[in-house]
Point group: C2
Amino acid sequence: MSRITSIETVDVRFPTSLELDGSDAMNPDPDYSAAYVIVRTDASDRLSGHASAFTIGRGNEVEVAAIRSVADLLVDRDVDSLLGDMGATWRLLVHDSQLRWLGPEKGIMHMAIGAVVNALWDLRAKRAGLPLWQLLSRMSPEELVSLVDFRYLTDAITPADALAILRTAEPGRARREAELVDAGYPAYTTTPGWLGYSDEKLARLCREAVADGFGQIKLKVGASLDDDIRRLRIARASVGDGFPIAIDANQRWDVPEAIEWIRALAEFDVHWVEEPTSPDDVLGHAAIARAIAPIPVATGEHAHNRVMFKQLLQARAIRVMQIDAARVAGVNENVANLLLAAKFGVPVCPHAGGVGLCEAVQHLSMFDYVAVSGTWQDRVIEYVDHLHEHFTTPVVIERGRYRAPLAPGAGTEMLPESIAAHAWTGRHELAEVAVA
Amino acid sequence: MSRITSIETVDVRFPTSLELDGSDAMNPDPDYSAAYVIVRTDASDRLSGHASAFTIGRGNEVEVAAIRSVADLLVDRDVDSLLGDMGATWRLLVHDSQLRWLGPEKGIMHMAIGAVVNALWDLRAKRAGLPLWQLLSRMSPEELVSLVDFRYLTDAITPADALAILRTAEPGRARREAELVDAGYPAYTTTPGWLGYSDEKLARLCREAVADGFGQIKLKVGASLDDDIRRLRIARASVGDGFPIAIDANQRWDVPEAIEWIRALAEFDVHWVEEPTSPDDVLGHAAIARAIAPIPVATGEHAHNRVMFKQLLQARAIRVMQIDAARVAGVNENVANLLLAAKFGVPVCPHAGGVGLCEAVQHLSMFDYVAVSGTWQDRVIEYVDHLHEHFTTPVVIERGRYRAPLAPGAGTEMLPESIAAHAWTGRHELAEVAVA
C-alpha cells in the first residue's frame, strides 16, 4: 500500500498580454496562467502526477487556493485505491458535502477538482507506462462506464446507452489505434486570427497555415463589424475559396445581435460560429442556431459541466461540441461529455491553446477516435502555437495533424525550470514587467 | 473626495453541523460560514460597508481569497464615484478581463463580487441614512435601470421594458412603503423541516409554526421516499388541511426520478417543489414542471446569474422564483432578477436561512413590493431561526411577517464580538470542536 504524501501547488504565470497573443473580443489582455498541481506518493516507483487549471492571469492565486482545499481531501489516502476506482474518486471530490456549495459543479472549485483529477490520471498513466489516450482506449466498456457519474444525465443517456456505444466501437479499437500512431489526428489553427494582430500579420499567418498543412483556420470576431468584414475578406483571399474558416465571438453578443452580426458575415462562407453569446444561455444558442442555419453553432470551452453539454445537445443548440480539458472536472467528466456527443451524433472539436490545453486535450480526442465515436469525420483539434516549450512532452504537429503522443502520462507535466522561472511570487510582478 | 483605504476579509465559521440544523438531502452537515468583507474609507463620516458571501464550511477560505482578489480592483479608488454609479462599478468588477475567466459570472468568483458589491451598497445606504430597501425604493426608474447590466438579457427584457415596469409601479410607492412599515412582509418557515430532526421535533415545530402566525412551512425531502411520506403525513396532520406545505429536494433527483417521486407525494397537497434537480438544468426543470402540473416548481438559490433566471422564465420551468442575496453578483444583479420576474409575471419568494441571508434578502423583497412588482400576492420570504443574534440589526419576525427594518444599511453587518469569536484560524479547528 502506498499513500499520497503531499499535493503541491504552484502559481505559474506567463506575461502573454505583452505580445497580444490570445487577444479576442472578451479577453483583450490574457496572461496565460496555470494553477499547477503535483501529487506525490511514497510508492517506490517515485512517480508523481502533474496537471493544472488554466486561467488568464489575475485570480490564478484563487484557483491555487481552491486546489489546496481539494487536496485536503486526498492527502494521506491510499493511492492505489484512489487510482483503481477513479469513478469513486471523482464522486468523493465532486460531491463533498461542503465544497459542493461553492459551485455546485462550476467555476473555480470545479476547475480545481479537474486539475486534481487530471493529475491523478497523469499518475495512473505513468504507472501503466502508457499515454493517457492509450490507457483509456484499452479499458473495458464496463470500466469506462464506471468512470462516469450519470447523475443528472439519465434523461439523455443511461449507463446502458453508454455501454452500447462503447461496445459498438470495441471491434475496431486496435486498427484505429494503429492508424492514429501512423497518421496523427487532424488539427486546425487559431494562430492567424487574434484580434490584436495587424492585417499584414493576419494575411501572412493565413498563408502559412495553409502551407503548413492545416485543414482549417479560425478568426476572432465580435469587436467591430467593419473590422470583421475586412479581416474575413483578407483571410478568405489568403486561404482561397472552399477552405474552412471558422469564427469565434468569445461570448460577445446578445441573442438578437448575434443573429444580425453573423448574417452580415455569412457571405464569407463561415465554417462555424463559436461562442456567439453567454455560455450559460442554452436557449439563446438554440435560437441563434435556428436563425443562422445552415451555419453551425459551436461552443463548449466555457460549458462548465456535463449538464450544460446535455442541454446544448437536447436543444439542438450546437452542431460542433467543444470540450476543454481544464474547465470541467477532469478526464472523467470529459468521458461523460464524449459519450453524450456520441449519443446525439454531434462531432467533438476540442478547445485548446492557452498553456497546456493542447497537450491535455489531444488525449481525449484520440480516445474518442479509438473507443467512443470511432471516427474523425468532421473532427479537428484546435491548435495554437504558444508555450509548448514548457512541457516535458510537448505536442508535435506534423502537416496539420497532432502526432499521437507515446510517452507515458497525460501530457500535463511542465518542465521544472519553466515552473521555477514563471512561478508568480507577488501581486504586482506582471505590472512591473509591463513597465520595464 | 474620499477613497477606499482598505478592504478587510475574515473567514467566519459556525459549527452548525453539530446540531444537524440545516441538514438536507444534499447538505447533511453544513457549517454555516461567511466570507466576510469590510470596506473602509478615509471619509470623515467614518462609515464602513459590511457584507459576506455565504458558504457551508470547507472552502470558505477560497471564497475569502476570491474576495481579496476582487478587492485589489477597488482599493485606492474614489469611493464617491464608485457609489455614485453602482452600475459602472458592477461592470468594472464583473467584466474584469482576466477575472472573468474564473466564472464567467458563476461560482466562487461571482459570489465574491456579490459580497463586495453588497458591502458597497451597505455603505451607500448608511451614508444615505436609510435601510437599503428604502434607498432603492426611492430611486428614480431611470437610476434603477442604470444599475442593471442588460448584456445577455435583451431577448427577454430591454431597458425600455424595465423602465415601463418601474414607471407603472411608481404612483403607489409611498403608500406601499407605509404599508410595509405598518404590516411587515409575509414570511414562511423552514425551521420544522430539516432532515436531521426526529418525528417528534418535526410535529412540535410544525404546530409552533402555525401558532407563531406563519402562513406556510417547508419540508426537506429526497433522501428516502418512505421517510418523506411519513414526515409529510406528520406535518400535514400537525398543520391541518389547506395549510401550505412546500417541499425542497435540494437537487437530489434526476429528471425521471423527480417526476416519479413528486407524484408519489402529491396526495399531501404540495404547495411547491423546490430544487428538484441540478440547478443548471433549465430544460430538466421545464420537463418536470410539465409533468407534475399543477404542482409548481420553484428554484433559484443556486441559479448563478441573471442568464439562468432568464432561461428558467423563458422555458416556463418555474412558477416560483427564489432569488438569493449572496449567490449572484449582489444587489445590482438581483434588481435585474426582480425585473425579469416582473416581466414574466412570476412571483419572487427569496431563499434565506444560512447566516445573514434573511437579513440581506428582506431588503430585496421589500424593494420589489414598493417599486417593482407592487404586490405581495403569492409572495413570501423564507425564514429560518438561525444565527440572527450575530448581526447588528437582526431580522425581527412578528406574527409570521418580517418587520420592515429602519436602521440605515443593508442589514449585513455582523457584531465585532461575533466575528472575533468565530473567526476561523486553522484548518482542523471544526473537527477538533466536534471531537471535544
